[in-house]
């Protein structure tokens, strides 16, 4: 963060907590928006307005994952705008935060 032109290195990290069966659809949306990459992390449990859940691989219905992707502002906005109504229906959580990347060309 002492780099010459920090703006150029700045990207947005989008984190989406979603039901595992939905991952495939979010990946398709990411591809449509030309996102170059993403990573999916596992979760153990959680709690929200719709109650508690814990990882449950047997039924698969209460297992959630964290989909993360790093990209520039415009793509992040376009991507999250498209997903918002879907995520609303599924009660997912979406976060955006600023990150600095090393090889900005990659994102």
């Amino acid at each position: 963060m002492s780099d010459p032109d920090p703006v150029d290195l700045e990207r947005i990290k989008v984190e989406i907590l979603l039901d595992s069966p939905l991952v495939r659809r979010v990946e398709e949306a990411a591809e449509r928006h030309g996102l170059t990459g993403w990573t999916v992390l596992p979760t153990l449990s959680g709690s929200g307005r719709s109650g508690r859940w814990r990882d449950d691989q047997v039924t698969g219905a209460a297992s959630k994952v964290l989909f993360t992707t790093v990209c520039n502002r415009e793509k992040a906005e376009a991507f999250t705008r498209e997903l918002s109504p879907v995520l609303e229906a599924y009660g997912s959580v979406l976060l955006k935060s600023k990150v600095e990347v090393v090889r900005p060309g990659k994102f």
Binding site: D19, P21, R25, G51, G60, A61, A62, A89
Partner: protein
């Protein structure tokens, strides 16, 4: 104790009760999810193989076609009256009523497996083809459920992109049917070298899985916010009615005692694998906490402890 109910003292059921008690007492006992899933897949492969091997001996019979037809019809029709009951008596909205109804039209593999165990140890194992009936009954109710949701209100069903595909190729359906066919091809001789895994240790594995199911069911019951007393009542009345109808139809179409009882168990049981996954995708507005609580935390324990012996008893009376 009436005939059939002594199975409440078999280790299979006792492990379920142990899990339920541990969860009720808030013990931290827990089986790792990956292991529970592994055992669940093992049970499906084993039950599929066993069914296939048996059919490879008995050959295809008219009974089989009748049982399959009965299973399909039950699976398509059960959700409709339940949907109405869930709306009127259970006071659910259209979407949730449709989602719950779909679960009861479909089946629970482990209820079937535990029931077969009980029937087998009582000397009246269900016919091998009942496994194929089980597989056939997994998915039709999903379609009926979605239709009910769509008709009942202006709900937009999130289908389109291959929902049918995802439903028909649900992992449990594929594994069950695939193992059934492998058993059919392999026959008794081909099965012999793998029998130590898929047959000898089967009952023990079922114990471990039911231990986990007991934990899961009661934890879910405790954490559920959506389950009302009315709904819990329906979760017990549904299996009694559906199961009774299933046994009677089994008797009517001339199935043997074990198979008629098994048809009752299939009708009575509610899905906790194929349907929840499909509903989460297609009806995201429906509350998973609700349908899993009814299927896993009310109906499953009821069937395992009281439903199964009752269906066995009924079948011995009417067949």
């Amino acid at each position: 104790m009436p005939a059939g109910f002594e199975t409440l003292l078999s280790p299979v059921i006792l492990f379920f009760i142990l899990g339920a008690l541990a969860a009720a007492l808030r013990s931290d006992l827990a089986i790792p999810e990956a292991v529970a899933k592994g055992i669940s897949l093992y049970l499906m492969a084993a039950i599929g193989l066993k069914g296939g091997v048996e059919v490879s001996q008995s050959g295809f019979t008219p009974d089989m076609a009748l049982a399959a037809l009965a299973g399909l019809v039950l699976s398509f029709l059960i959700p409709i009256p339940l949907f109405l009951a869930l709306k009127r008596i259970g006071r659910l909205d259209t979407v949730n009523a449709a989602a719950v109804a779909a679960h009861y039209g479909s089946v629970s593999v482990v209820t079937f497996v535990a029931g077969s165990q009980v029937l087998g140890s009582g000397g009246m194992p269900p016919a091998g083809y009942m496994v194929a009936v089980l597989a056939l009954m997994e998915t039709p109710a999903i379609i009926v459920g979605l239709m009910l949701a769509r008709r009942g209100g202006g709900v937009q069903v999130q289908s389109g992109n291959g929902l049918l595909h995802e439903t028909l190729l649900n992992g449990s359906v594929v594994l069950l049917m695939g193992s059934f066919i492998i058993g059919l091809i392999a026959g008794t001789d081909g099965f012999a070298p793998i029998a130590p895994l898929f047959q000898d240790i089967f009952t023990g594995m079922l114990c471990l899985f039911l231990l986990d199911m007991g934990l899961v069911a009661i934890r879910r019951l405790r954490e559920s916010r959506a389950l009302t007393w009315r709904l819990a009542g329906l979760g017990i009345i549904f299996p009694v009615i559906n199961g009774t109808i299933g046994v009677l139809i089994g008797a009517l179409i001339g199935l043997d005692t074990g198979s008629a009882a098994a048809l009752g168990m299939l009708a009575a049981s509610a899905s906790y694998i194929a349907v929840p996954a499909a509903m989460r995708l297609a009806l995201p507005q429906a509350d998973p906490g609700l349908y899993l609580a009814m299927s896993l935390a009310v109906t499953f324990p009821f069937n395992i402890t009281i439903g199964i012996p009752y269906f066995v008893f009924l079948a011995t009376q009417v067949v």
